[in-house]
Each structure stands twice: as C-alpha cells, then as structure tokens.
Symmetry: C3
Subunit: 213 residues, 3 copies
C-alpha cells in the first residue's frame, strides 16, 4: 500500500469523524439543518484548508470532492440521527472517534508539510496542529462556543506529541514514512484516549493563575 | 452587454449594499468611525476575499480598487447618516437591499468558481455561499455578535437555492450565462424578500432540538 | 544599512513585543501553556500571515524561521514569568512595547505591499493596518475577548496615520524608503504613546450613539 493510499484513507476517516463531532458540538444549541451541515463541513475540512492556504498549494478538496461529499453526508446523517448520537454511551464513543480524527489529521498534515520542505521542523509541527484543530476552532468561533484553546481539556497536546514523534522518526529514517505516521498517530490517539478514559485535565502548574482583581 | 459587464455591475451594487448593512449591524453597539468603516469594508469584500484565497486567484479588489472605494464611501456615508438609517421604515428597506446583495454576491461567486472549473458542482455552490455570507460572518465574529449561522433567520438558504438554480441552468445551457445568473439572483432575492415580508423563520423540524440538561 | 536589513530588525522587534503582549492578554483568563504559546505566536505572526495570503506571496515566516523561533521563545518566557509581567509598572511598559510593535508592523506591512505594487494606495494602507492588528484580532476571537475594534481605545488609528505618512512620503520621494518608514513609525508610536500616557479615548463624536430600545 503506497504512502498516498495510506494518506487518503487516513484523511477520509478523519473527515467523517470530524463532521460527526462538528455537528454534535453545535447541536447542543438550536441550529438549523443548513447551518449544521455548514459547520460540520467546516469542522471536517477547515483545518486542512487553512494549512493548504498557508502552504500555497491547491486546497485538498478541490480536485477530489470525495472529502466534501463524505463530510456533507456524515453531517446530514448526524443531524437526522441526533437523538441517537446524544445518548451518553454513544457520545463517549464519539469522543474517541474525534480522538482518532485529530491524531490522523495532525500527523497527515505534518507529513504533507514536511514533504513540501516547508519551514522544517517548525512548519510541519505548526501546520500539523492547525490541520487537526483548525476546523474545530473555526466552528467554535462561528457558533459562539468557547474555543478549545480556552479549556483545560487534554486535546491539542496529544497532537503536538504525536506530530513530534512522526517528525523525529522521519528525520532519522526518511524512508519509513508509513511507519512514522502510524507511530505518531497511535501515540497521539493513545494519549487522547487516556485523557478521555480517565477524565484527565491539564495540570494546574501547566495553566496560568489569573491575577484576581 | 457582456458577461463581464453584468458581473461588474452586480458586484458593485452588492458591495455598496453590504457596506451599508455592515455598518448598520455594528452601529447597534458603540463603535468608532474607524472600526465602523473597517467592519463595513470587511462585510462588503470579506466573502469575495475568502473565495479568491481558496480559488488561489488574485483577490478581486486588488486590480480594480473601485470595489474598495465604493465600500469605504458607503461605510462613511452610513456612519454619518446613521440616525437616518436607523428609522424603522429605512431599516426595513435596508433589509431588502441586503437581500439583493446576498443574491447578487452568491450567484456571481458561484459563476466565477464554475468558470474556473473549481470542484464542480460542490465547489461553485460552497464558494457562492461563502461569497454571499462570508463577509457578514467575519463582521459578526469581530464585533462579538451572534453569527447568522446560529439564528433561525431565512438568510443563507435562499442563496443556496439561487446558486443551485444558476448552476443547474449552466449545466444544461452552458451558453446562457447571463440568463442563468439573472434567474438565480431573482429567485434567491424573491425567497429572501418573502422571508422579510412575512417574517418567515426556519421551521422547527429544520432545526435541532437541544437536549435539556 | 539596507532597506531589507531595516525591515528585518523592525519585524523581529515587533514579533517579540507582540508575542509578549499576546500571552499577557490571554493570561488574564485561565489558559494552559500550550494555548498561551499558540496565542502568543498567532498574535505575533497572524497579521503578517493574513497580509501574505492576500498578497499571494510565501508567508514571511516560512523561509526564515527566526520569526517563529523568537515568537515561541518570547511566549514561553512570558508564560513562565507571568507574575513579573502582571505588575502595574511592568504592564504599563508592556503597553508601550506593544505600541512600538503596531507602529513597526503597520509601516513595514504597508511598505512591503507598496513595493509589490498591490492596489496602490488603498492596498498598502489596508494591508499595513491588517499586519499591525490582524494577529491581535485573531487572538481575541479565539480567546473570547472583545476585539479592539469594539473598544474606544486609540489603537488602530495611530497605525492608519503612521502608514499614511510613510505612503505619502514614498509617493513624493520614492528613494527615501528608510526615512519614510522611520517617519511613519515614529509618528504612529508617538500618537499611541500619547494615548497611553494621557489615557486618551476616542472622542464620542467619533463613535456611534446606539439607539436605545
């Protein structure tokens, strides 16, 4: 299986999982069908779109509409079956799917950036993280939610670590692209899954202590 | 009259109407002259700018500053004559002007995208909608207003339908660009105007029912 | 000293000052180490990134990572030494540093745009202002703060005036790039510093009077 093939499957799985969690996130509030689909699609392809704009390459969904189609279909399905998805057990499962999504997107974004030789090593790390969480950030801003940057959830940090694992591996073993991506993705997801399972929060020494007025 | 000519007049009329409604939207809050003009201009050219960045073509106002000039002048006029524009009858009129603007911008954006062969047919539809409502979304986010995606107003859906009419017409009659654009614009505006006139809201079956805590 | 050299030093000083004020702005709220660094870096390079995307040139930090490195280091330092930076006298000093930053960034952004011949004279003015305040706007939106466009602070207007001074000078004396930049930067900073020192606010005739409900 070629690297391109692996990249495509990873991106497609991540796209679907992001659209689902995107629609669920905004459906806590009153939101109409059209807005739900728009926000689901933005969650799914927004991060990769920002990455491609910064890389100055064609946006990844322009020449292969399967990403957009998958995001639209997943968003519609989630909107229709929202009652099902809101059940506690299902919601928990969705959190894990979302964890797979950020791991996949982050590592795939970092590798795409690295292959273009863009700003190594800071560029791939930054654009990997943007690929993973950029769509969620846009969705939260447009829907008036607090962005994940302002919560103490262990969400972006696993992506950072997973991308670092992949990039360090690629630096020393440039030929092992698939293996480096799998390692980074597994580690990012494991960390995120641990945070979900044990309800881990970022420790307080990792967080500013606002000066009281 | 050539297609380019039609496109230019449509875009100019939409630009002015957007700047006016942009300034009025934020002048409900305290906002200074500079911010009002900035937000008016962003409302007017923001959507088309995002479209052009995604299409990777030069932004439409760079080589023809008449758009920016029109937006700046309309914003200044609206700021100065705000008391006039805030009258109920005038405000109602403004809502209709805004409706013309989203119809014009959406269809013109969809056609520009289609002519570039970008991601047909999903690309033209998405970028048409972004052209129409993107500037308003940026303005709302920057001014701390609830974005129109989170209201039950019938605002973006008419644009979607108008763009679909234009795109379907173009698919079967590729030579009738002007006619397809006029049809789509008229239909989008008619739907939006009906929503304003009869105070239509999106039906509740079209909207998520948030699960109460 | 060449123009490029002057531009580099100006941009580097502005980058560091922006990262510091970016982290301080969000540390009023609970924010973790990772988010603080992300928001500091966004404050520092966000405005220039939007400018470069609109200009369709490679983003300025891609080929010279010293900007990102400086922003990351300054953000980390500010996060660690936050108690120090929150002291009233230090905070006042930070406001002045920030004033240098917006003056430097605005004028440098306007000159870069003018040298590319992009939309003279409106383009350089707009992109100069975006370079100066774009990063802060993104930071405020992502962290849920009121953006500076919605306050009555004298913040963006000095940048507008400084950019105008530089651009008018360049129009009549195209060879005096360094002098024009220094003049614009000094004037922009002087105006901003006066506003800080005398707690100037935008006058009420400069601000909309919201119609009471």
């Amino acid at each position: 299986m070629s690297v391109d093939h692996v990249l495509f499957i990873m991106a497609m799985a991540a796209t679907i999982s992001f659209a689902i969690t995107g629609v669920l996130a905004v459906s806590e509030r009153r939101v109409d069908f059209f807005s739900a689909v728009v926000l689901g699609v933005i969650t799914a392809v927004g991060g990769g779109t920002i990455r491609d704009l910064i890389l100055d390459v064609p946006v990844f969904w322009a020449n292969d509409l399967s990403y957009i189609r998958a995001a639209v279909l997943a968003s519609i399905l989630t909107f229709v079956a929202q009652a099902f998805f809101s059940r506690p057990q299902v919601f928990k499962l969705i959190l894990y799917i979302d964890g797979i999504g950020i791991a996949l997107f982050g590592v795939a974004g970092a590798v795409k950036t690295a292959e273009l030789g863009f700003g190594w090593p800071v560029g791939p790390l930054m654009l990997g993280v943007i690929t993973a969480i950029g769509g969620s950030l846009i969705r939260d801003v447009l829907s008036g939610r607090k962005t994940l940057l302002m919560t103490d959830e262990v969400y972006a940090v696993p992506v950072v670590i997973g991308c670092l694992v992949t990039l360090v591996t690629l630096k020393f073993y440039p030929d092992l692209t698939s293996e480096a991506m799998i390692a980074g993705t597994v580690i990012a997801f494991s960390l995120r899954a641990s945070a979900i399972h044990w309800s881990l929060r970022l420790p307080s020494w990792f967080t500013t202590q606002p000066h009281d007025k």
